[in-house]
Symmetry: C2
Subunit: 379 residues, 2 copies
DNA sequence: TCCGATAAGTTTGATGCCTGAACTTATCCC
DNA sequence: GGGATAAGTTCAGGCATCAAACTTATCGGA
């Protein structure tokens, strides 16, 4: 009961920072008295801090602004990439406090070896003089959310790795560890820091194409956590064979590799230069990819009824060329488009969305249920 | 608090009817004392009834079985079809108490006219000597769940009809009225009475192809309630033009009409005869439809990570021929299939799943939050 | 400058629900 | 018949919420 209401209060302050106790009471439907006592407890645990006195015209006492405390529990985000391990320390309000990057070829290393490095990175971050509320780990593969097990990560060449348990053991952690798919966590970052609102599909195209689906402000992970595999939607049933065994997967037709090659260049940077120079092959390559993306996304939107598509990763940079034809394709293929047209926007988060989301997932867990953390602080 | 726990108790009895108070306490994590007092209240409101004394070996007092009361609030389900209005009265335990059917061509009638007939049917049902807990209305079109507004129903030729308000006004109802898409409500019926478990896509193919998505035992309706439009997934981007303005929609390639025509017959009955007689054209037509269905469903499953496909409506009858090639297509195209193969099963509910689900949605609302009903009974 | 009006935040007593423990009831088995 | 076991009830205690009264802070007009 108090547990639930504490989360309500934190939620109100998260969406409307700087609210007074009275404003929080109004927003949550609780009484001022209840909010007062909950806020006292949350301040005691270091989750909330008081700020300036409110500025407002007219009569009446001014409220004291409340906000999530920058000294509250920090989230530690880890991204295990193909050629790097990136670690970000993010404070309770969402600001990035510190960043580490360890380059290295993880593709050709045994999982145990890489996880040992991750554990070292986590232990190093834990020596910072701030409380750690949880660790989030982003992995480029299928993750079983409930257990934190990585089923398969094609680009790492990993299979059946119990990332959570391994990490808890090696880093001797006493805080929650959450493991998630890269694309899903990037979508979480978009939800917290981005422009997608509370309902969207976030597409992140690096080597593969992943999607994170956010509905009513919550990540939709599917039944066992394998949801959002947009890259393997069959968009051209008679199309080229894919590594997954199927045919005509989106990844083959609109993936970064395909676009770059069709444009007659070798890197994304070159592609962008070519596009800026209005080179025909590049423009056509992007337009074709947009069409295929449109087919896959219209499937997703007809099923899930989402108002917004956020282009992340490499696609964010291609948005000026990719966005309009994609939007056109969607307006043609989405059944409900005439009532609520689908918005296509570019993410502003860049390539680091996944680490940011990983750190954010740890913070989000505390926001959603602060009691365990509060209890651990207050004893 | 009590509100939430009352729902917990009802939920436990709904999944395990005949449990004793002690068993409910164990299942919910509440204490025996709490369960006792909650059960007293729910019996007083007529939601729960005591049954026989438990039969069990060994020492100790026997518990008294509890179950949802058949005299509890009934759900009234209405289906507004193209050529009929069907009304079912279903008791709190899920048993059908009475059925009414009013044939009539609703396709060529003004919504007001049809809704007047629906209101008459509802008032007639309300004269039965049982308490009505709510009304559910199934409509073949896009429904905005929050407001109960029908945005468009192509087969009825309706647009922008405020079904809920109209019906409340005309039938002078003082109980909740829920309006939902036919396919979504059919999926709810499958959840309550069917073989799909707690996570599945339910496909109902009549004139169009609709899908209801159930995840973690709850209907997934999307952001505004327009989800599950499987029929308009683009499965063959270069395929035939569809009435919706897109190209290669599933409905065109695997809809009932298409299968029947491709088989060289004119009705579903003839199709089934032809299949039973091993006629080549019929077998081929169904096999082709299965392939296209597989493409659309693999999109759905890659996105949503669902373990089961339930074939409803006409497809249920075709399952012996449709199921195996569909399952094969899915195992090829679904990325997670190697870890958790997708199960394809035929629904056993027949054509009436939507009405049943509509009635069930009213009952479900009370199970999920019995307090308003309890308060209305106990005053 | 003082005082009434307004609004934020706190204190206090009452209420309602859950809990744990003791108690009653019912049944088996020796 | 009595001990053991288990269901269900009673009762005192605790905790969170709430409404209402109260305190604090600020404005604006007399």
């Amino acid at each position: 009961m108090r547990r639930h209401n504490s989360a309500l209060v934190l939620g109100a302050l998260s969406t409307a920072p700087g609210s007074s106790r009275a404003a929080v009471a109004a927003a949550t439907g609780l009484t001022k008295a209840t909010v007062s006592s909950l806020v006292d407890r949350l301040i005691g645990a270091g989750l909330i801090a008081e700020g300036e006195v409110e500025f407002r015209l007219g009569p009446g006492r001014r409220g004291t602004a409340l906000h999530l405390s920058p000294a509250g529990p920090h989230g530690l985000g880890v991204e295990i990439g193909v050629d790097h391990i990136t670690t970000w320390l993010v404070d309770f309000t969402g600001h990035v406090r510190r960043k580490w990057v360890r380059p290295g070829d993880n593709r050709n290393s045994a999982p145990a070896r890489v996880l040992a490095k991750v554990a070292t990175a986590v232990r190093a971050a834990a020596t910072e003089d701030v409380p750690i509320g949880g660790v989030g780990v982003a992995v480029p593969g299928l993750v079983e959310a409930a257990t934190g097990t990585l089923r398969v990560a094609p680009n790492l060449g990993w299979r059946e790795v119990d990332v959570r348990d391994e990490l808890v053991r090696r880093a001797a952690l006493d805080v929650p560890v959450l493991v998630g798919n890269e694309a899903n966590l990037a979508a979480l970052a978009e939800l917290r820091h981005g422009v997608g609102g509370r309902d969207f599909v976030h597409i992140s195209g690096e080597i593969g194409i992943g999607a994170g689906i956010v509905v009513h402000g919550a990540l939709f992970e599917g039944v066992s956590g394998f949801g959002g595999e947009l890259g393997h939607l069959p968009v051209d049933p008679r199309g080229p064979v894919c590594g997954c065994g199927s045919r005509g997967c989106l990844e083959r037709l609109a993936g970064q590799d395909r676009i770059v090659r069709a444009a007659g260049v070798t890197t994304v940077a070159e592609l962008l230069t070519a596009l800026a120079g209005n080179e025909k092959a590049a423009l056509a390559a992007v337009r074709t990819a947009a069409r295929w993306l449109g087919v896959a996304l219209s499937a997703a939107i007809n099923l899930l009824d989402l108002p917004t598509v956020v282009l992340g990763g490499t696609y964010a940079h291609l948005e000026p060329w990719l966005g309009p034809p994609l939007a056109a394709e969607l307006s043609r293929r989405v059944l409900g488009a005439q009532w609520s047209p689908v918005r296509v926007v570019a993410s502003e988060l860049g390539a680091d969305a996944a680490v940011l989301g990983a750190a954010g997932s740890a913070i989000r867990a505390i926001l959603a249920d602060p009691d365990p953390y509060v209890a651990s602080v207050l004893g």
